[in-house]
Symmetry: C2
Subunit: 154 residues, 2 copies
């Protein structure tokens, strides 16, 4: 399964894990979709559309397709309603929880965000606890929101 020499197929910029990761979710939207699946209990296309960030439907469809292609999420039609497609994080996807948590902490610390500082301080102090809860909810398919939709800044 290794690259046979002479095959000019290197679509990757480099072998660096950071670079390879960024090729999968290094854009303005992918991590937001993952965030919503992870801590807001989103499951459907419509959920994302109405998330308030204002993602265009074609971009959303494109991102969902790509995230599925890279094995970060799965998509399956709901049994009880054939219109609905349920998106879920895979193990690979839920493993992005530490990344998301660090991004969240960094943003909250260095920018004026809508997140209450007490909540952030709490998450910083109890990183592992927070991550454990995220993972538990994923295992249990528990879709009740863990983190609220932060309001506007100020």
């Amino acid at each position: 399964m290794s690259n046979v020499p002479g095959k000019p197929k290197p679509k990757r910029r480099s072998g660096c894990p950071v670079s390879i990761s960024l090729e999968m979710f290094g854009d303005r939207w992918s991590l937001l979709v993952i965030r919503d699946l992870m801590v807001r209990g989103f499951r459907t296309f419509k959920d994302f559309q109405e998330s308030g960030e204002g993602i265009a439907t074609n971009i959303l469809a494109d991102r969902l397709r790509k995230l599925e292609a890279t094995g970060i999420i799965t998509a399956e039609v709901e049994e009880t309603d054939g219109r609905r497609v349920n998106y879920r994080l895979t193990k690979k996807g839920i493993d992005l929880a530490p990344v998301l948590l660090e991004v969240l902490i960094w943003g909250a610390r260095h920018e004026e965000t809508g997140a209450p500082s007490t909540l952030i301080v709490n998450m910083e102090k109890n990183r592992e606890e927070f991550l454990a809860e995220v993972r538990r909810r994923w295992r249990d398919r528990d879709s009740t929101p863990l983190i609220p939709k932060f309001g506007a800044v100020g």
Copy 2:
């Protein structure tokens, strides 16, 4: 220093720290520049150009400008050579180390990368130690590379 009410300046998509963070470095290149400043000892425009990832010079110039504008890096002309501009991470910039580390670990775990697995396992086990070294090097302005340039996959 707070936003005066009535000013219609909300260019931000939402108050979520993740969203705000992504507006600053959520693209294919910014985190690579930060990575190179952080663990490869890069300092100049030319360093980035030759990093092997193949960033175009206009994009690089744009990213450096934006990262400076958001306070993640600083740029100053070298005293001993007026042609050279030295880029450095600010405190805000070095605080992205945990984000980068988690992205690195995730990529190495879930994709076939050029990073030796022993190195990754080691970093996973000693996250804090690794971060402490990154911070020490930043404080001391120690530019010797901490992590090598990973080769192609395979």
